[in-house]
Symmetry: C2
Subunit: 213 residues, 2 copies
């Protein structure tokens, strides 16, 4: 039943719940009411209850939610109870930054390789991994059972590289290239288009300035 | 009138329109119908017309939109007709990656400084800019009239650094730290929480696997 008919908006909010609950857990908090969670996260208590009702409500019993249970349940819904094995394709600054981002491992995302088309980068060590040539991508995906490809190549090669990864059996692409990918049924894509995000910021600055006149 | 009552969903789609129109323009396309734009962007023509009607419709006249005009208008709505001056606070891998991201300058976002609290990074040259100590942030913001602060510091110092930047007169924060900032009225924040994005990908993988059984 999970995942059926649940809106993108609700799904988009789950990681934030997970993050706050993880912090509460780390602070030793055992129970929290929807009112307290509401104040902390600055969303309405009714929003929280509605969101959670999509997943059966998580058994709030008057005296609040069990933090550890709720954290584990939302983690399970997000698929974080399983490990994911990923490679990074594109070993430029952004690819290296992502490789070095320790937090991903904590969440079960294991970086298993980093690749580039530029021979000057071959052998450079990033987070205990040597940058390898693109020619090795297929072999590594198959032998290491990689399920996620992180795409940090330039825009003009992104579509071709994505097609190759999919051909080699990748199930999901975390796409940082500034282009929309069209992928076959069964391949999941999550885009991080940094320029789009910066433009949204520019929009809100511009609106605020117009309001002030 | 612009920006009043326009939904976040519409605003969130504007950068994508802008990107596609920029590509059409670069390819020398002068006019495009909503049907052709619809096919290209894989959204319905009715969605496009509804979105554009929020801004007066952009004068489609039977034979389609003028690409150059539409590109310029959407750019103007996004505030891209003005230059923005930004600094990057946190000169780790991610901060360096963002400093090196050439595309931002093309859109009028000028990187004017990069700062870190780690003396080992002082003087390192990133995109023609020397990494400077945090103590110089205030002076640089004031003398260079900086309006955007890019926050790429660790989570545990992000709130304090954001407060400092706001105290120094920053109007907008592009926040990559994995924490929600609570800022005063008039300060704009756009979050890029990479872990949240990766969790959404994990969710869609997990859903797809459950459907397949």
């Amino acid at each position: 039943m999970e995942g059926k008919g649940i809106s993108q908006a609700v799904i988009g909010r789950l990681p934030r719940y997970f993050r706050y609950l993880g912090e509460l857990r780390d602070e030793g908090v055992e129970r929290i009411s929807s009112q307290d969670l509401s104040r902390l996260m600055q969303v309405t208590a009714s929003q929280i209850r509605q969101d959670f009702n999509n997943f059966g409500g998580f058994g709030q019993q008057g005296y609040g939610y069990n933090v550890e249970y709720l954290y584990a349940e939302i983690g399970r819904i997000l698929g974080l109870d399983k490990q994911h094995r990923l490679i990074i394709v594109g070993a430029g600054n952004l690819g290296q930054a992502l490789a070095n981002y320790m937090n991903f491992e904590k969440r079960g995302f294991l970086v298993q390789g980093i690749f580039d088309a530029d021979p000057k980068l071959y052998g450079r060590v990033v987070r205990n991994l040597e940058v390898e040539p693109m020619e090795l991508v297929e072999q590594r995906i198959r032998e290491k059972n990689i399920d996620i490809g992180v795409l940090t190549v330039p825009k003009n090669s992104a579509v071709e590289v994505a097609d190759r990864l999919i051909g080699y059996g990748i199930k999901a692409i975390w796409n940082f290239a500034h282009v929309d990918l069209h992928v076959p049924e069964g391949v999941q894509v999550e885009n991080v288009h940094l320029s789009d995000s910066l433009m949204k910021l520019s929009y809100t600055i511009s609106c605020y300035e117009k309001q002030r006149g």
